[in-house]
């Protein structure tokens, strides 16, 4: 099993550009999450999904959109990139909603917006 795979690893965007961060998992997990991690800060939840076709906002959803058309894939879309979106983005998945079902993280996408 590859686990959670994120692409690309690095990206530089100009202000106003758009891009999609890809996330796929091969563990047949229903629950998937997008987090951002800023220097010296804890992970913040952007969006999450409890299954195909269902998504919900997390703590910091503004400026982002998600979709969940399959169990495996959970892409994160930035429509109009802003410098405040410079961050490291992590996708994660879990078997169940209960926190005693461990979160499996990808290795992140480092995004710089200039």
């Amino acid at each position: 099993n590859a686990g959670v795979t994120q692409t690309p690893k690095f990206r530089i965007l100009k202000i106003g550009q758009s891009m999609t961060l890809q996330c796929t998992q091969d563990m047949n997990h229903n629950y998937m999450y997008w987090y951002r991690q800023d220097p010296g800060m804890g992970l913040k939840l952007i969006y999450y999904s409890v299954g195909a076709g269902i998504t919900d906002k997390g703590e910091v959803p503004n400026g982002y959109n998600v979709s969940r058309s399959t169990t495996e894939d959970f892409p994160l879309r930035l429509e109009l990139a802003a410098p405040s979106q410079t961050s490291v983005y992590f996708c994660a998945s879990s078997y169940s909603q209960g926190v005693d079902s461990p979160l499996h993280f990808g290795n992140g996408t480092r995004l710089t917006v200039t």
């Binding site: 999450y48 919900d56 879990s94 992140g108």
Partner: protein
């Protein structure tokens, strides 16, 4: 990622020493706590968890202590090895909506010298 360590408190130890990493949590209603390890350029990895009805839990070379009176959590790593060098952070669950209500701490960087 590499920037995760910026602005973080740092604990430097010698190989073979025991390490203690501390975490103060904010919500007295939190009932579940998790410790994660994050190596440079990688996503967080689950280390150990503890429920609020316990005050101590042991794993392989790691022990988590929970003091609810002062809202403090600690992670003890026995016989620290260079491979333990990473950022460690705690997370607390204060709701009943699974990972959507998980709050992550900022982390501590552990540096182990041979």
């Amino acid at each position: 990622g590499e920037n995760v360590g910026l602005h973080l408190p740092t604990l430097s130890v010698q190989e073979g020493d025991n390490s203690i990493i501390n975490c103060a949590y904010s919500n007295s209603a939190s009932d579940y706590f998790i410790w994660y390890k994050q190596e440079s350029g990688k996503g967080p990895q689950f280390i150990i968890d503890i429920r609020s009805n316990m005050d101590k839990r042991q794993g392989q070379r790691v022990t988590v202590l929970l003091n609810k009176t002062v809202k403090h959590l600690s992670l003890q790593i026995a016989a620290t090895q260079p491979g333990d060098s990473a950022v460690y952070f705690c997370a607390e669950n204060s709701g009943d909506s699974g990972y959507s209500t998980l709050t992550f701490g900022k982390g501590t960087m552990l540096l182990v010298s041979p």
